[in-house]
Structure formats: C-alpha cells, structure tokens
C-alpha cells in the first residue's frame, strides 16, 4: 500500500512539475518604454515602441509595426515574409515599409539582456542601425538559453523500504563575474549566500529551503581591487518543490578613473575589471557620445587612456560594458570627471561605500537602515546631524530621500 502511494506521488510530480514554466514577458516581449529608437541616415529615427506600434517579440519572430518619422509605418510581419527569430535572438527575414520597401533583418540580434544590436539593410533606406551613439532598442524578451526557467528538483526514491526525499524549493544563479571575484546573493535585500568565481570568471550559486512566493533576489560582485558592481535585481516567483534557474548572467564591468578633474587635452585613464579577453566598450558622454573599444587582459582587467581634447569643458560621465561569445553585459555604474584647466587625481578606489554607511563598517545594510529609522520623524541630535550631513543628503532630517540614498548604496 505504501509503495502504491509513493508511485502515485512520483507520477504526480513527473506530470505536473516537469513541464518547463517560463516567465511570460521573457517569451512574449514588448519594447522598453525608454529604449525604443533605431536610426537610419535616410529615414531618421525609427520608433519600435510608439503608442500604436504594438511590437511583440516571441521565439519565432516579431509582430507589430515600427514608425519612421519620415516614411511612416514599417510592418514587421507582412504577408509572405516577416522578421524571424531563431529563439536565441538571431533575427532574419524581411519587414515591409509602406514607403521604404523590403528591409532585411539578417545582421540584427537580441542579446541576453534584451538589447537589439546590429544593422538591418533596406532596399531604399540604406541602413537601420540598432547600436549607434544615441539609439537603443530594448525588449523584455530573452533568448531561450538566458531565460528564467522553472524545472523540478530531481526526486530520489529508494527501493524496498520506499523512502522518499521531498523536492527542494530553491533558486540557482550562474554566469560570469570577474576572475576569482566574490559574488554575493541577496534574498529580499539581506545576504543569503556568497561564492568565488573561477579563474575564467564563471560562478554558480544556489539557495534552498525557501518558502513559495515572490522574492527579490539581487547579485553583485567585487573585483580584485574591492570595487563593487551595481546590484542586478531579479524579481522571482518561487513555486513549492521547484528550482528556479537563472543562467547566462553577465555582471557589468567595474569602472574607475585616475583623475577627478583633468586639464583639457590630457588623458584620463578609465579602468576596471570584467571577464578575461572580453571586448570592453567604454562610453564617454558629451554633446556627442564617444564609444571606444579595448580588450580585457587574461585577468579581465582593462585600461583605456581617453584623450580629453575632444571633450568640452565641464562635467562628463563614463561607463563601460563587456561582450564575449555573443553575450553582452549591461552598462556599469557611471563615474564622473570634470574637464577644466587643471588636473586633480581621483581618490584611490575604496572598498567602503562613499555614502549611507552610517556605522562605518564598509557595508550598507539593515544596521544602517535601523539607525536611520531610529531618527525618522524625530528631531535629530547634534551627533546624528553631523553623520547625516556626511553620509546622507545633509538636510538635517531623516526622510524618504535618505532611505532612497541608502537603497542605492545597499550591499546587504
């Protein structure tokens, strides 16, 4: 009788848990509300996310319309053709522009972060670029290999006695950080696990014993100099008895500069760490945005000397992203520098967050939150006023803005 009961239980698990469950938006994506413009020298801006565009990206292709300000609608799924997707983000096939003719999407792809890249070529449009200086098209669709999937945890049965190991409720994350770097996983903003990446920057981290429900998991890594990447957030619904796997994670490079202020015409060194031998794109903003490429070394370190003679006087920002084996990271944090008439060296990188660390333990976590919460809606003491001026927004009181600053610098 006990054996039959176990058999029925396993039968149930096989049938109900084995089908792979996938997040809806990663299989049927739409266009990001911000990043929706491609550029054509001839047709001008091409909007993939306009009010009536209704663009959808699925594993098989694109549907809906794009809008060219000069040439009108472009049908992404015309009769007898259409833009196809090989489920890994490599696009092919043709769209039809009512005043532009056929547009070939071979050469356009969507990376694991949902960014379009490459160039589509048209009969009359010359080229439509998805990766020019100011254009970017982004979707929440993800290639199959980079998608959040829910798969059952293997169950084990032992013959004879008929014992049964209950399936685990768990999550796992794997991808690339920096060689030998510490990768930290936060569960609902509190440190839950950490692991070291291997010499090739690969990491894998998992967490079990979870309840079923909605979680906010976040990941960050620290490079060999102690610089932290920004947090990557994953809102995940965990189902009882299943393991949610996030694969293909590509943590953005770290970034630093050697000068906080640089005399126009001198070089500013932009450096950091990513995956070994990754192609690093360094963006420097100005009226015109500059993109420069450099190859990371065997340790993932990169360095680019940027000539500031091409920049206007004033504040500028730089950020970097990495690409390797077809995968592209998101952009790093942006760091700022001033182009002026003198040069001031930047502070050496520190492991401690520059703000919000109220108890000076080089972490921003629940302890700091608790200290700020104590002073929330209270008249602050003279001691705390000094601390607030140094570590928070300096308005002499604790309010939501201070907590927002803390949430930005959060390390768990």
């Amino acid at each position: 009788m006990k054996k039959i009961s176990i058999f029925i239980h396993q039968f149930f698990l096989l049938f109900f848990l084995f089908p792979v469950v996938v997040l809806a938006s990663s299989t049927n994506g739409t266009i990001d509300a911000v990043y929706k413009y491609a550029w054509s020298e001839k047709a001008g801006w091409i909007n993939f996310g306009c009010a009536n565009c209704n663009v959808h990206i699925t594993d098989s292709g694109l549907t809906g319309y794009a809008w060219s300000e000069n040439y009108g609608w472009i049908n992404l799924n015309p009769t007898n053709s259409g833009v196809k997707n090989n489920s890994e983000g490599t696009l092919s096939g043709y769209a039809w522009g009512e005043n532009l003719g056929w547009i070939n999407f071979s050469g356009v792809s969507i990376d694991s972060n949902g960014n379009f890249s490459g160039i589509a070529t048209g009969d009359n449009t010359s080229q439509i670029s998805f990766n020019c200086a100011n254009c970017q098209v982004k979707t929440d669709w993800r290639p199959q290999s980079a998608r959040t999937t829910t798969t059952p945890t293997p169950t084990v049965s032992v013959g004879g006695g008929g014992s049964y190991i209950a399936p685990q409720t768990a999550v796992s994350f794997s991808g690339r950080a920096y060689p030998g770097s510490k990768v930290t996983l936060l569960k609902d903003a509190q440190i839950a696990a950490s692991v070291l990446a291997d010499p090739n920057a690969a990491f894998s981290i998992s967490l079990s014993g979870l309840s079923s429900g909605d979680f906010l998991f976040s990941l960050y890594s620290e490079d060999s100099s102690g610089r932290r990447s920004s947090l990557i957030i994953y809102p995940i619904n965990v189902t009882s008895g299943a393991t949610v796997s996030m694969t293909g994670i590509f943590i953005a490079p770290t970034i630093a500069i050697d000068k906080s202020e640089v005399k126009k015409g001198e070089n500013v060194a932009i450096f950091g760490q990513s995956v070994p031998q990754a192609d690093i794109t360094i963006a420097v903003n100005s009226d015109e945005e500059f993109y420069n490429k450099v190859l990371a070394d065997a340790n993932g370190a990169y360095l680019y000397n940027f000539d500031t003679s091409q920049l206007d006087m004033g504040q500028h920002y730089t950020k970097s992203k990495a690409a390797k084996d077809g995968a592209i990271s998101s952009f790093s944090k942006a760091v700022s520098f001033l182009v002026s008439t003198k040069t001031v060296l930047a502070q050496p990188p520190t492991k401690c967050p520059s703000k919000a660390d109220l108890n000076s333990d080089c972490r921003v976590n629940l302890v700091d939150f608790s200290i700020a919460a104590y002073w929330y809606k209270r008249a602050v003491s003279a001691d705390f006023k000094k601390l607030e001026a140094e570590k928070l927004n300096g308005d002499g009181k604790v309010n939501l803005i201070d907590f927002s600053i803390m949430a930005f610098y959060w390390t768990g």
């Binding site: 990001d32 509300a33 911000v34 990043y35 306009c50 009010a51 009536n52 809008w67 009108g72 609608w73 009512e98 005043n99 936060l186 569960k187 609902d188 903003a189 509190q190 440190i191 014993g209 979870l210 309840s211 079923s212 429900g213 909605d214 979680f215 906010l216 976040s218 920004s230 947090l231 990557i232 957030i233 809102p235 109220l358 108890n359 976590n365 629940l366 302890v367 939150f369 608790s370 200290i371 919460a373 104590y374 002073w375 929330y376 003491s381 001691d383 705390f384 601390l387 927004n393 939501l400 803005i401 907590f403 927002s404 600053i405 803390m406 949430a407 930005f408 610098y409 959060w410 768990g412």
Partner: protein, 306 residues
C-alpha cells in the same frame, strides 16, 4: 492613392499626438488592482496596490491611501510578497479611512506589476466611492533620491443592495499559510547616536504567506535554563537595545507570522562566559558528584550486607 496615404498618415499622426498628450511621458504609476468594481452590502473584496515603474528604476515609495470609511470597513492589510523589502512605515490604519505606508527596495525595482500591499475591505452600506492615494512619492534609484514623475489611478466602486439571506456572501478566500517566515540573520550593531553608543540588535524577515505579525527577543546567559527566560516583544526595523551590554548572552529572535507559524534565529554570545562563570556547569558538576555519592553509598551498603 497618394492622397489616401496622406490622409491616413495625418490621421495616424493625430492619433499618436493625442495618445502622447494624454499620457504623461515616463511616469511611474501606482494603481489599485481589483477584479471587481461593484459589490453588495456585507461582501468582502480585495484591492492590490500595484507599482508600474514604466521603465524607471524605483527604490523608495510612500503614500497615504484614503478610503470612505462610511462605506468600507478595512478588514485586513497584507504585505506578504510585497516588492518592498523594508518598511519605514509599515502599512497601518493611521486614522479613520487613512492607511499610511513608506518603504524601500534596495537596488531598485523595474517592472510593470510590483505589488506594494493588499487591502481587504467589507462593504458597509449602499453607495458609490473612490479609493485614492495622496501625498504619494516614488524615488529613483540614482543615489540622490530624485523624485520620479508619478501618476496615480484611483479606484471607483459601487456598493449595491445587500444580497438575499439565501445567497452565498462573497468572501475573499483565505490563504492557507503553513510555512514559517523566511530564515534571517539578526545583527548586533553599535552607533554613538543610538542610546549613547549601547549595543543594539536589528532583525527583519518576510513571510510569503500572510506576512509577519510580530517579533520577540530573548537574551539568556544560560543555554539550558534559558528556556525559562522571558520573550520580549520587539519591533523591526528599529534598534532593540540589548539588556546584556557585555554581549555574554545567547540571543534568540522569534518571528511569528499572522497564521502563528514561528521562525527562531539564534546569535551566540560574542564574549561567552568562562566555564566556571556559568552556574549551569557547577550544577552539572554538583549533580554528577551527588550521583557518584549515591552510587558509592549504594555499593557500600551492599558490601556491608555481605
């Protein structure tokens, strides 16, 4: 043909222009999500407060929910499965018809359906009303606490005549919560601005079923006799000033969810007692000696009898 195209294009432009004028560009949105907008007197219904960041990255949110208390009675506030990791003001009924809340999402949240909290109401009498949000703010995850453009969609409802006694009243289905709150790591901290630099304890966790109801803390220098020590109710996320400032006690933190499930976490003493300072050890030694003495006595009597 060309003329038709031109007319069509102008019409499209007008439609697009109207859509853009009507919709604030890049505004995050807080709305009230519910399946119904008409109920009968005495029925329950559930309203979820949802954040759509519209492509922005939001890390802090606050507001005051206003509802007509003459029409609605608040039965329950649920914060389980909220995207808010830490509440600065845990959502609660502040005054008649007003629920205030504020909290943060470390690292920021970007998405279309981020649940903030869920409200369960019971309708009191016939009428029409609106649930709205006042003084609401959402802040960007930019390190400066910049306020995001925010639009709010109020929820309008109608309460009709009571259903007949024979029909089944509409009730929000209860959540069966058998799982304890999530595991967590309480931390000990110190800061010159808190209680004159005394050591304090901080703790927080989430419960994915019905939400955390309350926390209790126990400090004890004795491991075994600690079972008799008293639990003291404590509040998260505020610092709990420790009684044992020498940090020689075991500290237990109990998180209790609204279904009564319990999770207990423990912190070992940072400066544990030496073995001779712990009376438990002396009691064990004395007990051991007493047993040895009793055995000896027993054997001695038997020996004498022989």
């Amino acid at each position: 043909m060309f003329k038709t195209y031109k007319i069509k294009r102008y019409l499209d432009l007008v439609v697009i222009a109207l859509v853009f004028i009507a919709t604030p560009v890049l505004a995050a949105e807080i709305s009230f999500d519910t399946k119904i907008n008409s109920v009968a007197v005495g029925q329950q219904f559930q309203v979820s407060v949802v954040l759509n960041t519209n492509g922005e990255e939001i890390n802090a949110v606050e507001g005051k929910i206003i509802f007509p208390s003459d029409l609605l009675k608040l039965k329950e506030i649920r914060d389980a499965n909220s995207i808010v990791s830490f509440w600065v003001d845990k959502p609660k009924l502040e005054s008649d018809g007003q629920i205030a809340f504020s909290g943060i999402i470390p690292g920021g949240y970007q998405g279309q359906r981020g649940l903030l909290l869920t409200l369960i109401f019971v309708s009191r009498k016939e009428g029409q009303g609106t649930i709205e949000l006042q003084n609401a703010k959402t802040l960007l995850n930019d390190g400066n606490g910049t306020e995001a453009v925010l639009s709010i969609t109020p929820y309008q409802f109608t309460i009709s005549q009571a259903v007949s006694a024979s029909s089944t009243p509409l009730v929000v289905s209860p959540i069966i919560d058998k799982e304890p709150p999530e595991s967590f790591v309480p931390e000990i901290g110190q800061n010159s601005t808190i209680s004159g630099g005394k050591w304090f304890l901080v703790f927080a966790t989430q419960d994915k079923g019905l939400g955390v109801d309350h926390y209790e803390v126990k400090e004890t220098r004795q491991r075994i006799f600690g079972v008799f020590a008293k639990w003291v109710t404590a509040e998260s996320p505020y610092p709990y000033v420790l009684q044992d400032q020498e940090l020689r006690s075991y500290i237990f933190v109990k998180a209790v969810d609204k279904a009564g499930n319990v999770r207990i976490e423990e912190i070992s003493p940072q400066n544990p007692l030496s073995w001779y300072e712990n009376y438990e050890n002396w009691l064990i030694i004395i007990l051991g000696l007493a047993i040895l003495y009793a055995i000896k006595k027993l054997l001695w009597r038997r020996y004498l009898k022989k």
